[in-house]
Symmetry: C2
Subunit: 236 residues, 2 copies
């Protein structure tokens, strides 16, 4: 199928890529609206006017197809939070925006984000089941997005804003957990943000910012000299 010069793209290649792309885009359309349960191979085949078995000439399995959707999503997410963290604004604003953007992007494509954390026992395909390796992780989009968080923490420490005694990786993981949790709750409990005893107006965006604020607050450098700011470990 390939010609002698490997960089050349034959008509067959283009045709194959076009069909592959049509599968992906149909899958993306259905998945974004109805999620994994709404996306069946037969339905997909119907939408692109091919037989179900034809799909398997392009993707090894349904999971492999969905993995591609998730990976594409995390690339978008990475680009967004990377943009937030490198914008031309004061540090604390950027830090908060970074968290807020993460949550906001996740909520915008709930099925993608939820699916990315839906499997139990093996979240990294390339390392199925084994202990999560650092080197393997940081090359994924997910890992790179995490790297943005780490950089943010170290920058905050260099600026003498964040507590220097914190391990940046652990702090970033904590930050990730906090953002992830809010995203998940907003996704899985509609109107979570306006869940209050007295009905007061509160948009999801407002609550996301409130949460980001609190998250960042936990990392702030404790007031100097006072034993109050730092959380006492054993006593209190």
């Amino acid at each position: 199928m390939q010609t002698d010069s490997p960089s050349e793209e034959t008509p067959a290649d283009r045709r194959r890529l076009r069909v592959r792309e049509s599968i992906i885009s149909a899958a993306e359309r259905v998945f974004a609206k109805e999620g994994e349960s709404g996306l069946s191979i037969r339905r997909l085949a119907d939408e692109i006017d091919y037989s179900p078995s034809a799909i398997y000439k392009y993707f090894g399995s349904k999971d492999e197809l969905i993995d591609e959707l998730k990976e594409a999503f995390f690339e978008r997410l990475l680009a967004k939070i990377d943009g937030s963290s490198s914008a031309d604004r004061p540090f604390l604003q950027r830090a908060k925006a970074c968290v807020a953007t993460y949550v906001d992007t996740a909520v915008t494509r709930p099925f993608h984000y939820a699916a990315a954390f839906s499997s139990i026992k093996h979240s990294l395909p390339e390392n199925g089941g084994g202990p999560l390796s650092w080197d393997g992780f940081v090359t994924t989009s997910k890992g790179q997005a995490f790297g943005v968080l780490i950089s943010m923490v170290t920058e905050g420490q260099e600026l003498d804003i964040f507590d220097p005694s914190l391990d940046p990786v652990m702090a970033a993981k904590s930050l990730w957990a906090g953002s992830h949790g809010l995203a998940q709750l907003l996704i899985h409990m509609p109107h979570f943000h306006q869940l209050v005893p007295e009905q007061q107006p509160m948009t999801a965006k407002d609550f996301i910012e409130f949460h980001a604020d609190l998250q960042i607050r936990g990392l702030l450098k404790p007031a100097d000299g006072s034993g109050n700011g730092r959380l006492p470990g054993q006593n209190s």
Copy 2:
């Protein structure tokens, strides 16, 4: 089937309850080990030596059965964090323990916890799809567990430890999101806790406590006395 006196329990009632219980316990056993995907009606029927259709004489659907497992789990969780929050210890220790217990309990039964937050668009069956009502929510086990968090925040404010300018409900939601996020990440990314560049010993328990610490820190009363959204006096 009921006798004239409604409080009396006939042998038929007991028999029915026994079969029902055997279904639940078989389901619990399979579900705890393999999760929703490993639990099929036919397999369940095999395990209890009944036909698949017999199950439908006891539960309206597979979802209804699983809902019962999830509800039972949240009742256990509620009891546990309620115990943590009311133990005879200093406040900050209790507060941290409360968060840590939540995460720990979730991680211990990963499938139960994950399943409880797996559906998108309607997390409260009794309110399917509509806006989440406060009154409906606080009566569920989930809602009551949340109530424990709110009480903890208000107590911290009364003790002059937590920032009094924070809305207790919003702070509790933020806390919940943070705990939920860590639980989810630990469940869905095995060895998340020991995901570090240099391999240094770090147990899940240790990381949970670190995270709980940071979460609580975010709620502390700022040392300089200013309220929400304070900026550090240092350069930024």
